[in-house]
């Protein structure tokens, strides 16, 4: 699945912090991207569906987290964590290459 689509990347990134339901994923994504990446319900669940099919995330029981019963919680799988790490590494490489190629851009480390 690499490189990951932006929505899939943000979902994995948000879930790396712990189990979350759909609305929390959306809110966290908006916060992480400084309001630049707004995900609607369709984008969110299309990507959740793909990630579930690829075993990168899995659905978990709500457990002790307070919930209204309609919410479904998702957790990053081991495969998903590995995919996220690979994607982050790929991004770091791209950034390093960009820094080498164009010092005039003044990219910060």
């Amino acid at each position: 699945m690499l490189p990951l689509a932006p929505a899939a990347f943000y979902i994995l990134l948000v879930l790396a912090d712990g189990d979350k339901h759909g609305y929390a994923i959306m809110q966290e994504t908006l916060k992480l991207s400084d309001g630049n990446f707004r995900m609607g319900p369709a984008t969110l669940y299309t990507n959740v569906q793909r990630l579930l099919a690829a075993d990168l995330i899995r659905e978990v029981a709500a457990g002790s987290v307070e919930t209204d019963g309609r919410r479904r919680f998702y957790r990053l799988s081991r495969l998903g964590r590995s995919a996220l790490e690979q994607e982050l590494e790929r991004m770091r490489k791209v950034l390093r290459q960009a820094q080498k190629l164009s010092p005039a851009l003044k990219l910060s480390h």
Partner: protein, 136 residues
């Protein structure tokens, strides 16, 4: 305002039908619930100013996730192609019925142009202007 929100929710629930069936069946309720929650919170936080980006996001998704998916399905491609072909054929037929002289003129022109070019080229090759007097 509640009426406007209800209208948005109703419209959103209707647009859910456009999304792929598997997605709708598995996540339809959650999508609807999430949209309700999102719009309510946006309205509570900043009124129209906060609500508009949410509505804009949902409407762009309708095109990018819903309709684009639909347009890729073979049924839609076949139906759209059939519709376009039928429309073209019907338009040409109507035009031909309304302009019989025009149709004849085009036919004659094609015949004369094709024939003249062929005979001229052939005549130039064999050194004769109109070989065999076949030119109409």
């Amino acid at each position: 305002m509640i009426f406007a929100l209800h209208l948005c929710w109703r419209a959103y629930d209707l647009t859910l039908r456009v999304y792929p069936r598997e997605l709708r069946e598995e996540f339809g309720c959650e999508m609807s619930h999430l949209f309700h929650h999102q719009t309510l919170e946006a309205w509570a936080n900043g009124g129209w100013r906060a609500l508009l980006p949410v509505l804009w996001c949902a409407s762009t998704e309708f095109w990018t996730e819903g309709l684009l998916f639909r347009m890729r399905s073979p049924e839609v491609i076949a139906a759209a192609s059939s519709l376009v072909c039928t429309w073209v054929a019907f338009t040409v037929l109507l035009w031909a019925l309304a302009n019989p002289l025009g149709v004849k003129a085009i036919g004659d022109r094609i015949w004369h142009l094709g024939g003249a070019r062929t005979f001229r080229e052939h005549g130039a090759k064999v050194g004769c202007a109109d070989p065999g007097g076949l030119r109409p």
